[in-house]
Structures are given as structure tokens and as C-alpha cells.
């Protein structure tokens, strides 16, 4: 079937693009990879929507976790990994708590994020978080407002983490270096800046 319509106009071409689901477009190995990385039974989903109904992100965004599970089941790799909604999960695990089929939808999302990272698809704030962890050991480092609040509560200004024990930061850096996380984050942010 002709998928290119050749209107000679990119806008029209996009608007009237072929929206059929073709089996040829699917990648069965996508489901296998998601299940292997996520260690969960995505293929057992019966699309009841308990996950989306439980999701704190769904009422305030276009993120629909049920659709991502569906894409996993159908092997729609590109559609799933290039959808920016993939990054709107807060990993609260409410869906995993309530799924009647005992699937862990959160872990499906985490698996897809892993796969997307291999394609260099990752929002910049996640990359910046990597840089912050590399630098301080914290995704959200302590700041003066927090320090003041901690003092008021009779706590030490810095928590007993890498903030109080900076000698452990090199260990964290070693882990991030091992997985080339920092290296890739730096590279992608630099490319974006160009």
C-alpha cells in the first residue's frame, strides 16, 4: 500500500499522513526487551485503565501509561521511545500497587527510558541531574533555604550524605563513569548547545 501520498507539501503530507497500524512496522523484540529489562509481564495487560486512573500525572498531562503498555505489547518501539510523554512518569508506583494483572507498569516505563537512552533520547533536565549527582552525590543538592529549615528543626545543616561526607563522592563518580553516564550526558548537552 502506498504510504507516501506525494502531495508536494510537507504540512499537508504530515496532516494527511497514513495512520494505519502495519504489522511490518512493529518490532516483537521491543516487547521482549521491555519485559527483560523491566522484569514484568507487559504482555498480560488487559487494558483496564487502572494504571492511568491511578496516575497523578495523567490528570495534568497527556501522559497515558496504559498507552505505553499497549505500545510495548504491539512492539511499537519508535512510537513509544520518541514520545516525550515517556518522561512524565513520577515513578510513584500507584499503578504497580493497583494493577489487577500484577504487572509493574512503572517498571515498563523505566525499561523504555533505558532503551530510549540508547537512542540518545533523554530530556535535558535528566542529563543535568546526572551532572549534579556526579558533582555532589545528589540529584537535588542541599541549598540555603533547606539548611535554614534544618537548623530550625534542630538538625545539622547538612544531612549525613555526601554533603557531610564528601569523601564518598569519588565512589559515586566511579559508578557513573563505569556506565559512561556522565560522559554521555556531557556529550548530549554539548551537542544540544551547538
Amino acid at each position: 500500500m502506498a504510504r507516501e501520498k506525494n502531495y508536494g507539501n510537507p504540512q499537508l503530507e504530515n496532516k494527511l499522513r497514513d495512520r494505519y497500524y502495519y504489522v511490518d512496522d512493529t518490532k516483537p523484540e521491543f516487547l521482549a526487551n521491555v519485559e527483560k529489562i523491566g522484569r514484568t509481564i507487559a504482555h498480560m495487560c488487559y487494558q483496564c485503565g487502572t494504571c492511568t486512573g491511578s496516575c497523578p500525572s495523567a490528570p495534568r498531562s497527556s501522559y497515558r501509561i496504559r498507552l505505553f503498555v499497549r505500545r510495548a505489547v504491539l512492539g511499537l518501539e519508535e512510537e513509544a521511545l520518541t514520545d516525550p510523554d515517556l518522561w512524565l512518569c513520577t515513578t510513584c508506583y500507584s499503578c504497580t500497587d493497583r494493577c489487577p494483572r500484577d504487572i509493574a507498569p512503572t517498571d515498563i516505563i523505566m525499561a523504555m527510558r533505558n532503551l530510549a537512552f540508547k537512542w540518545d533520547i533523554i530530556p535535558r533536565n535528566f542529563l543535568q541531574t546526572v551532572q549534579l549527582i556526579y558533582k555532589s552525590g545528589h540529584g537535588v543538592p542541599n541549598n540555603d533555604v533547606n539548611r535554614a529549615a534544618r537548623e530550625r528543626l534542630g538538625l545539622p545543616r547538612d544531612p549525613p550524605t555526601t554533603h557531610a561526607y564528601p569523601e564518598f563522592i569519588p565512589g559515586i563518580q566511579k559508578i557513573l563513569d563505569h556506565y559512561k553516564l556522565k560522559e554521555n550526558a556531557d556529550r548530549m548537552l554539548a551537542e544540544e548547545g551547538k
Partner: protein
């Protein structure tokens, strides 16, 4: 014991279409069988169970003067009776037939290993031939069948089964643990899809039960002990202390014209107030009570757990002298030929699914509570109200698959089968009764598969019920208004929804009654993985069980609606009446036999026998063991234990079993 003669065995291999021949080389096994000692003919056929297949056995017996038959085919549970008959027709004793299972235990499990499966089939045939060479003539024992039946549980299943048995002329004991018959169906307001009033169609049957002279009704009674076997069950019933005598019981005690007439004077003066279980504690009852006005029998019951024995009821009863506050449980032994179990269901404790707030939020109720609230004879006279404030709800939600189709371990993995339809019916009932009401059904699939069910779905949709295709994620309560926020995804709209409702009805999953397990074990009936009682065959024997003479009816075997329950009850009644009408049953002759010359009379076996089938008797000046064959199940406990080897287990003799083991381990060498 039959005299020894040279074994002449015929081996017959079944292809079972490709079921067996697809993964086993039949020709190879056939040729192999010819080499086995004692085998004089080895044959094969597409379907051994067919008439030509059986004909091969009959002809071979005559032509080759066979002494034993081996058929290698399916499980003996399927076709052992078939081939025994064929052996008999051929002119040899049917117990000279031995079956080798090369389908269920071979070709089906080794589908992709033809070589291995063929080797295993050879082993199975060799073992069977070794046993067949030593088989003896045996004669089944025929025992008379008691012309009576027992039905356990008096819901609609038990009622229907009892009526059928009784109308077929069989005296039937109908045993019910609660004080009245009627079961779950008597709690329902209307029934789908016809919208008949449930009580209106059930009470005539309940009254029939009370009047039928072939039905011996035993309410407030439980099965205590079951002994015996098909045709001759001896059952001990525990008649729980009811505290109130029927007119018959009173008369037996010499109180002429006394006994309970259901007047209710006692209940009027009783000072103790408790929740009425029939109304799910939404209405009160006294410590001396009937559950509702249409009880059968119309006899009051004392709840001794809450009775304070003040004696006011005894005074109020007066000359009828029906009340005995010192009454104790009594026991009765009955003898029946067959039994039907109809122990029904209860709701899954849906509060375990904490996200829906049952027991936390007053306005979240179950489907059965809804039935009582919408029922004209219920606690509110049929006016549906919110439990929190007694107001009429204007927006009502129905949560389908509440706890059903749930694989989390908290909930039930199966479909409870009648919730879709009763939720549709609930929506209809509120639309009919409350002007301007809105009904929301949260569903995953609407399973409307029965006769006129899909049409019913169409009708309710046409009446204006809103269907939201999504399972409810959670429910929150507004602490002020006590309204409920129902969260779900409308999966068709692909948007999360948050609907504020006045009342939410959970179509809770169902599970077996709490007593079902006890009853099941007493009658030796298995359960399936989902907890319901196990039928003998899911398709071809749905009423029978693996215990001969015990049958199942209704939801105790798995969730089913009223039409299916009644149909199964009639099936069970028909099945249970067959042995009674035939008047005798044949017991397989796998009895233990005492070889008196070897028996030392030690009596160890007598105490070991789980069926009380053995006794020591005095014979020619010495003590020997004696078997009551009708009680012996051939379990082999005594035979395995006997220190003197004096017990002969028919059809499973020591030489036969040793020959089988040798045939397997020595590969046919002697």
C-alpha cells in the same frame, strides 16, 4: 483364585487419530510387543474405542484363545470400562484387561520427542503385558442402594434438586445450616433478564419443599460425619440447638397442641437486639427470631450466643411451650444412597481491596446490600437510600469486576459470571425508581452471554445508563458531604475521569461458602485450583465428582447465575437418582482377601483400616481376619502392612506388582 494356565496376551495399540500416532511410532511399538513373553497377537487401529476397534479385541480373543488383553491408548479413566466390556463380549473375564496409558502420560507430554515417546510407550506396554500375564478372574460385588438421597444446602440449587428427587419418588433429606431455606436467591429483589421478583418465583418452590411428603427438611442442621460408599452412605447430622420446638417435636414430648406456630409473640418481648444477617445487619432482629416473613419452616430460632435467658419469651409463648432455653445440639444418623452438595457462595471480603473503601466509606456498598436496599421487603421498604444520611441517591456508580479477574493474590483470578448482568439490572432498577437518577457502570467487558442477556444490555443502555470502559482505580470520600470521588480512566476517551457520586455499588467477586470446605472433605470431594468443588469432568460430567454417588449443584462448583444453577441442579438430581432407581451398584472387586492359613490373627490390620472394613473372627479354633467386602476400598493399607503376608490384594497382588517392576527395571528379562 483362578487356576494357573499359560498366559496368551493380545496387545492392541491405538493411534487416537494423530493424538498418539503423531508422536509415537505405532508400528515400532507393535513389532516390539510381539517379542514380549506371552504375547501371541499384536495389532493396531486408528481408534481402538470405535466399534471396529473393539471388534478387533473380540475377534482376537476367540481366534487366539487369549487369556489377557492389553490396550495401549488413553487414560483408563476414559476407556477402561469400554475395553472391559469388549473383553467380556469376547468371552474372557473383564478383569483380565489391562490398560497402558500412552496418551495423557506420554504422547501429549512428549509431543516433540518421537524417539523418547516411542521408547516410553514400549516400556508402558511391557509393564502392562507383565501384569496382564498374571491377572485373575474377578467378580464385581453388587450391593443394594438405599432408596433415599441427601441434599446439602437449601438455596435454589438444593431446593430444585430436592424437588426433582422427591418428585421422582425418592425420599430426600434436605439439610440446611441456617434456620430457613431459600439461600442467596431469597435475598435478591429481582432477577435478570426477565425482572421477575426473586421471592415471587422462589417462594412457591420453598412452600413445595415444606409440603412435599418425600422431602425431610432439616434446617439449622449440619453434616457431622459421612461413612460408607455409594448406595450406602451413613451420615450423621448435627441438629443445632434451636431453642424452639416444632409442633411435631412438641407432640413427641407430650405437649398436645403445642410447638411453634410462628406467631412471633416471643420476639416481641425479647429484649436483645442484634443485626439481622439476612439484611446484612441493616435491620435488627431479636435473640429469638425469624430472618424474614417468608421463612420455611416458619419456626423461630434462639441465637444462644446473644440470648440472656431472661425467660420472657418462654412466658410469652405460654401453653404452646415451644421454647426450651436449655436445648442442646442433637445427633441423628441417616442412611442414603446418593448425595448432592449445593453449598453455594458468599461474597469475597471486598474491604481487602482497600482502594475502593468498603467499610471505610459508608456510601460504598456491595451488590447484595443493594439488593436488600432496593427490595420492597427489605429494611427500607424498597426505597434506595444512602447509608450515611438516608437520602435518595441521584448519582450512583457500579464497579464491575470488583475483586474478580484479579491476579494480585488479593482478589479472585476468575470471572464471577453474574456481576455484569446484575449490575445492568441494578442500573435499571434505580432508573425505574428514582426520577432523574444517573447510573454509571465502570466496566472492562460486559459479559452478556446468556439467552436474552445481550438484549437486556441493549435495553439498559437505551434507558440511559452511562457505560465507562475502565476499571475503577480508587475511590475517595468527601468527609463533609460523604459523596464519593470515583477515579478511573475512560479508556475509550483515553482520559482519566473523576466522577462525584452519591452511592457506589461494588459488584464483589464471589467465593465458596465458609463451610464448603468442611462438607467437601467429609464427602471426599476435591477442589479445583480456584477453590470451587471439582467436577468429575468439566465438560462431560459437570455434576459428578470423583467420589461415586456424590454430585454437585449450583455455585459450589463455580460461579453461575440462576438459570445455570437450576439446570445443573436438575442434572445432579437426575444423576443422583439413577443408582437409586437401578437399585444396586456394582463395586469393583479390588477387595483385600485373607489367606487364613497364613493369618496369625494379630489384628494389626484391623486398626489400620481407614474404612473399618476388617474384623477378627474365630474360625476353626483360631483367630483370623475377615473382610467386609462392601466396605473395602482396596486401598492396600492392610496388605502392605501384614507382617505375615497373609493379605491378598485382588487385582493388585504382590506377584503382579513385582512383575511390573521387574518388567520395567529388567527390560523384560526374567
Amino acid at each position: 483364585m483362578a487356576e494357573k494356565k499359560e498366559a496368551r496376551i493380545g496387545v492392541f495399540l491405538c493411534h487416537c487419530g494423530t493424538n498418539i500416532a503423531g508422536s509415537i511410532n505405532i508400528k515400532e511399538v507393535q513389532d516390539y510387543a510381539r517379542t514380549l513373553p506371552g504375547v501371541v497377537v499384536s495389532d493396531e487401529y486408528q481408534y481402538m474405542c470405535s466399534t471396529p476397534g473393539q471388534g478387533k479385541i473380540v475377534d482376537a480373543i476367540k481366534e487366539h484363545n487369549l487369556t489377557g488383553i492389553v490396550v495401549a491408548a488413553c487414560s483408563p479413566r476414559l476407556h477402561e470400562p469400554t475395553f472391559r466390556v469388549a473383553s467380556k463380549v469376547g468371552g474372557i473375564n473383564p478383569f483380565r484387561f489391562e490398560m497402558a496409558n500412552i496418551r495423557e502420560q506420554n504422547s501429549w507430554v512428549h509431543m516433540h520427542d518421537k524417539e523418547g515417546a516411542t521408547a516410553k510407550a514400549k516400556d508402558a506396554v511391557r509393564i502392562a503385558v507383565a501384569k496382564a500375564s498374571l491377572l485373575e478372574d474377578l467378580f464385581p460385588k453388587s450391593v443394594p442402594v438405599e432408596k433415599a438421597a441427601i441434599v446439602v444446602g437449601a438455596g435454589v440449587a438444593g431446593i430444585q434438586a430436592s424437588l426433582d428427587l422427591a418428585n421422582a419418588g425418592i425420599p430426600t433429606y434436605l439439610v440446611e445450616k441456617t434456620p430457613t431455606i431459600g439461600g442467596r436467591m431469597s435475598q435478591l429483589d429481582k432477577t435478570f433478564p426477565t425482572l421477575d421478583c426473586s421471592q415471587c418465583i422462589l417462594t412457591p418452590k420453598m412452600v413445595d419443599v415444606g409440603r412435599n411428603e418425600n422431602i425431610i427438611l432439616k434446617t439449622y442442621t449440619e453434616v457431622e460425619k459421612v461413612e460408607g460408599y455409594i448406595g450406602n452412605f451413613e451420615i450423621t447430622l448435627r441438629k443445632k440447638a434451636r431453642g424452639v420446638m416444632t409442633p411435631e417435636e412438641a407432640e413427641a414430648k407430650g405437649i398436645v397442641g403445642g410447638g411453634c406456630n410462628g406467631c412471633g409473640d416471643c420476639s416481641g418481648v425479647c429484649p436483645v437486639i442484634k443485626g439481622n444477617e439476612f439484611e446484612f445487619a441493616m435491620a435488627p432482629r431479636k435473640a429469638i427470631f425469624i430472618h424474614h416473613p417468608q421463612v420455611v419452616p416458619n419456626i423461630y430460632t434462639v441465637d444462644f450466643e446473644s440470648c440472656i435467658k431472661c425467660g420472657l419469651c418462654v412466658e410469652a409463648c405460654g401453653d404452646k411451650k415451644a421454647i426450651d432455653l436449655e436445648m442442646e445440639d442433637s445427633f441423628e444418623k441417616i442412611k442414603v444412597g446418593t448425595a448432592i452438595l449445593a453449598t453455594g457462595y458468599e461474597l469475597f471480603p471486598i474491604e481487602k481491596k482497600a482502594e475502593w473503601g468498603y467499610n471505610r466509606f459508608e456510601n460504598v456498598i456491595t451488590g447484595l446490600e443493594f439488593e436488600r436496599l432496593i427490595c420492597a421487603s427489605g429494611p427500607t421498604g424498597g426505597h434506595l437510600v444512602r447509608p450515611s444520611d438516608g437520602q435518595t441517591p441521584k448519582k450512583v456508580g457500579f464497579v464491575l469486576c470488583a475483586g474478580s479477574r484479579d491476579n494480585t493474590g488479593i482478589g479472585k483470578p476468575y470471572c464471577s459470571r453474574f456481576c455484569c448482568m446484575y449490575s445492568l439490572k441494578h442500573a435499571h432498577q434505580i432508573i425505574e425508581k428514582i426520577p432523574g437518577v444517573k447510573a454509571y457502570l465502570f466496566y472492562m467487558d460486559i459479559r452478556s452471554f446468556g439467552k436474552m442477556y445481550e438484549e437486556f444490555y441493549y435495553r439498559i443502555q437505551d434507558e440511559g445508563a452511562k457505560f465507562i470502559r475502565g476499571r475503577v482505580a480508587n475511590i475517595l470520600e468527601d468527609p463533609k458531604s460523604r459523596n464519593l470521588m470515583v477515579f478511573a480512566e475512560d479508556t475509550l476517551l483515553q482520559r482519566p475521569v473523576n466522577i462525584e457520586l452519591d452511592l457506589v455499588v461494588l459488584a464483589s467477586a464471589v467465593q465458596p461458602s465458609p463451610e464448603a470446605d468442611t462438607v467437601r472433605k467429609l464427602f471426599g470431594v476435591s477442589k479445583s485450583a480456584d477453590g470451587w468443588m471439582l467436577e468429575a469432568h468439566p465438560k462431560l460430567n459437570p455434576c459428578g465428582t470423583t467420589t461415586a454417588g456424590v454430585f454437585l449443584a449450583g455455585v459450589c462448583q463455580g460461579p453461575k447465575d440462576i438459570p445455570d444453577t437450576v439446570a445443573q441442579a436438575e442434572g445432579a438430581a437426575s444423576a443422583a437418582s439413577i443408582p437409586i432407581h437401578v437399585g444396586k451398584v456394582e463395586l469393583e472387586p479390588y477387595f483385600a482377601q485373607c489367606m487364613e492359613e497364613k493369618c496369625a490373627g494379630c489384628g494389626m490390620c484391623v486398626n489400620l483400616c481407614p474404612y473399618s472394613a476388617l474384623a477378627l473372627v474365630e474360625k476353626e479354633g483360631k483367630k483370623v481376619m475377615q473382610v467386609t467386602e462392601a466396605k473395602c476400598k482396596g486401598c492396600g493399607t492392610c496388605g502392605g502392612f501384614c507382617p505375615g503376608g497373609a493379605i491378598h490384594m485382588q487385582h493388585f497382588t504382590t506377584p503382579q506388582i513385582v512383575a511390573q517392576i521387574d518388567a520395567f527395571l529388567l527390560g523384560g528379562e526374567q
